[in-house]
Every structure is written in C-alpha cells, then in structure tokens.
C-alpha cells in the first residue's frame, strides 16, 4: 500500500488549449503545459529536477522537455509505457521518487497530437506479432472494439441498458457546457444519444471519448515546499495502482481476464481507501476515467460507490450530476472536455479543491477522487485541500 499520506502536494497545474489540429509539435505542447504548471506554482524552472511522462510512443520523452526548457540539473527524467492506466500512476511515482531522494520537485505531463497525429482509437500496428497474432487477424483491432467486449459482459450479467450508458454521456456533456476549455459543449438529449450511430455494438458514437491534441501537466512537491508556493496546496492523501490476475500481455489483451463485467477498480479499492483512511461517502467530487461510458459504471462499482451491477441504476438516479450525491467529471471528462488520457481529470480535481473551478465549482469540495484506467490495470488518487 502507498504510505505517503499528505506528505506531497500538487502545487501547480498547466495545460494547453485542447484542439483537433494543434499545428504544433508535441514537444511544443508538452513544454507549454510544463512551463505553465511551474509558473502557476510560482516556482522557477531551475528548481525542477524531475520530469515524468507516460505514452505509447505517441509523444516525446521527458528528457526532451527538460532539454527544451533548459532545466539545468535533471535527476529523474523518466517515461512510463502506459495508456489510460498511467495518469495517476506517474504522479504516485513522483511522490516515490521524491521520498527516495531521486528528485525534489517533479513535473508530470501527458502530451500528444491525439487527433491530428497518431490516433490511438484508429487501430494499432497492423502486423500481428506477439499477443496481437491472437486478436488482430480476426478484425479485432481498435480500442473501441476491445472495450465493447467488456460492456457486453456487464449487459449480459446485469441487464445494463443503453439509456443507463447514455446518461453518463449526457451528464458529462452538461458539465462541459460550463467549461470554456471543453471541446464539446453543446447539450445532448437521450434521443441524440440513442440516435448516434453504432460503431461497434454495443457502443454508439456517443459512448466513445474524444480525440484531442493537447497537453496537461502538474507540479508535485513536498508539503512544506508547497506551503511557500503561490497556490493553495492540494495534498495527495491516498493512492493506488494495480489490477487483477492475468492483466494480459499488453493493454489491449484481456483474453485471460477472469470476469469482464468488472475492471481493475475492484482490485485496487481496498488499497486506495486504506491508504487515505477514507471511504466512498467522504468524496465530494469525482473525476472518473471515461474513455467509454461503461468504464464509469465499472469504477463506481469496483470502488464501492454502489454494489456490483448497480452502476447503471446509480447513474440513472442522477447521482453523477453536479447536484447529485457524487458530482462526477465536472469538466466534461474524456467524453466531452478532451482526451488527455486522464491527466485532465487531475487538473480539474485540483481546481475544485482550490475553489477556482468557476461556473462549475462544487461548493465546499474538500475531498476529490481521480481515477485512470478502464480495463485490467489502473490507478487512482484521493486528493484533499
């Protein structure tokens, strides 16, 4: 279990605009977000000595950002090979690096031209080597195709309905209407959802997240340093990374996963709540990884906000709305704000806990949950102000 409760703070946040065609290099996007995170904290870039990122060979290495920004003494420039599972993982890794003395002040970022450049949703390498030889030859290639196999089991086992999945998309779009940075802000109705075209059954277009060009970054520092900086500290009070048995040979492969009606969340729940000494009822605002509508249901169930199979009814009862029991994805999420692989969820949680979320502020938010992951492995944090 992660043991660094409240010892580290997210002390700065930065982001670029989220667009379909940035016309810029990924290095430019990453550097802008990182520089903005340091400036937000009021920390000189010369004081940064760690940079951590995650990607799928669709970005640029952390050392490139350090070089481009002229950071003089980089002790810990590290890249994780990760997808949706990585957004909180790299931030927990930053706390571990600082605790171990490998760095003092660490920038964590995700940057990509996810729409105009390499499109993760468009399919993987076409040569079927390694584990892919058991999947791609059957026309099973894209992530929407991978994840449709999961939601099908949830439907078979629990009778989850299209309207329940649709309510996830509708709720987050409503939230995006209050977020000027969001890529999709026009409200959608249940009729719009049900009429959106089938991509891979059971998924419609509106079950699937956006593709975005952009970058997000956070600055992680020790708590004492945080108190001297410009912003109200947001403490990392809990965290967990992991999954179950048979996580697969890569992020697509879940052939040996025991039960596709539940994902990684069920396996990290005890560690997550235990590391913070908190329980689901303590969470004031949640930013839950929503690459697809279904992943929200499985995380709500796995983390204990409702019982297994009750995610659909939980959403239908309105609990995720801003006036509901668990205001969720107040920025619009991956479905409506942007797909920055879950790092944008952390930025939103920090704004909520600082009280600077403007039109989308949840009153008196003190504890926030962030998650990242949809399938066999993932990461989550509990943050507090």
């Amino acid at each position: 279990m992660w043991k660094l409760r409240d010892k580290y703070s997210i002390s700065g946040i930065g982001q670029t605009a989220f667009t379909k065609a940035s016309g810029r290099t990924v290095l430019d996007l990453a550097s802008e977000a990182c520089k903005a995170a340091a400036e937000d904290a009021g920390m000189a870039l010369d004081e940064i000595d760690g940079i951590i990122s995650f990607h799928f060979n669709d970005s640029i290495p952390a050392m490139a950002v350090a070089s481009n920004l002229g950071i003089p003494a980089v002790m810990h420039a590290v890249d994780y090979t990760a997808g949706g599972n990585g957004a909180n993982l790299i931030m927990l890794a930053a706390t571990a690096a600082i605790e171990a003395g490998l760095a003092r002040n660490v920038l964590c970022y995700r940057a990509m031209n996810g729409r105009s450049g390499f499109r993760l949703g468009g399919g993987r390498e076409f040569s079927a080597q390694g584990i892919t030889q058991y999947t791609a030859p059957f026309g099973w290639i894209t992530y929407p195709q991978a994840m449709a196999m999961w939601v099908r089991r949830h439907i078979v086992k629990y009778g989850t309905t299209a309207e329940q999945l649709g309510q996830v998309a509708i709720t987050f779009r409503e939230n995006a209407g209050r977020n000027e940075a969001a890529m999709q802000r026009a409200p959608i109705t249940m009729d719009d959802y049900l009429a959106s075209r089938m991509i891979v059954e059971p998924f419609r277009m509106l079950d699937i997240c956006l593709e975005s060009d952009g970058a997000c970054a956070v600055l992680i520092t020790g708590k004492d340093r945080a108190r001297d900086l410009r912003q109200k500290p947001v403490y990392i009070t809990g965290g967990a990374y992991g999954g179950g048995p048979s996580q697969g040979d890569d992020l697509f492969d879940a052939i040996r996963w025991p039960d596709h009606s539940q994902n990684y969340a069920a396996y990290i729940a005890d560690d997550l709540w235990g590391s913070a000494g908190l329980k689901p009822e303590d969470v004031d605002v949640a930013e839950i990884y929503d690459c697809f509508t279904y992943s929200v249901l499985m995380q709500l169930e796995g983390l204990g906000f409702c019982r297994p199979g009750e995610g659909g009814p939980f959403v239908q009862e309105g609990h995720l709305a801003r006036n509901g029991r668990l205001p969720t994805n107040t920025h619009g999420g991956l479905l409506s704000e942007a797909y920055i692989h879950g790092t944008n969820h952390v930025l939103e949680a920090v704004r909520q806990l600082r009280g600077t979320a403007g039109a989308r502020q949840i009153a008196d938010a003190e504890i926030a949950l962030t998650t990242a992951g949809a399938m066999t492995c993932g990461s989550a944090m509990l943050l507090r102000n």
């Binding site: 058991y134 791609a136 030859p137 059957f138 290639i141 099908r152 075209r197 991509i199 891979v200």
Partner: protein, 138 residues
Amino acid sequence: MNTPAYNKPLPAPDPDSAPFWEGTRAHELRLQRCDDCGTHRYPAGPHCPSCRSTRATWIKSSGRGKVYSWIVVVHPVPKEVYHQDVPYAVALIDLAEGVRIASNIVGCDPRAITADMPVEVVFDAVTADVTLPKFKPA
C-alpha cells in the same frame, strides 16, 4: 479470374506460437497442456501460469465451446480493409478445455449471437500459408 490479395492482419508465428499455427493449417485446434499440472493454456506461452512449469505437450482441442462475450463491428477500421465485411462478429469463446480464445463467429446472423451459445471450430484458409480458426453455431 484474379482474387484480390488478402490485405488483413496475418499472424506472425514465433517459437511459442508456431505449433498453434501449424495446427490450424492441418485443421486442428491445438492447445498446450502442462505436463506437470495438466492445465491447458492459451494464448501459447513458455510457462504454465498455474504452476510455472515449462514442460508442456500440444494436444488437439475438441474445438467445442460456448460464447463468453461478443461484439458486432459496424464501423470498419481501416475502412478500405473491412468495408465489405461489416457487420461482423468477434467473440471470446470458452473452450471445453477451460481456456478462452478470441475469434470470429461465422455462419449465422451476428445479431443472433447469444451468451453461452454453443459453437464449434471451422477452419478458414485465408492465404496459402495461414489458416485461421473460426467458430460457427454448433
């Protein structure tokens, strides 16, 4: 008449998987069975995940199983490769030997597939070198 060249992903056999793909060419669905604990495994691999043994024997599967989960691809990706195939079904099938395999369900309307539907293997020689195991209602 010329048939267009097969343009879909083809498996690249490696030292772990070569016996599997040799098997499908001979119209046999072969699985590794651990010599030490008897557990079958798929996909092919050098270790038994149950007991970590490296000793295994390739056996011929019954080729029978039931549908665990399935999807119906409606939007083809890439479009130029799959546009004539949609809608097509990809399924995870639980074989009688206790392993799960990903494949296509053929020989029925993709919308008629149901959970636990019994299926059996059929072999589709997609090129001179590669035969894919697919499944039809049993």
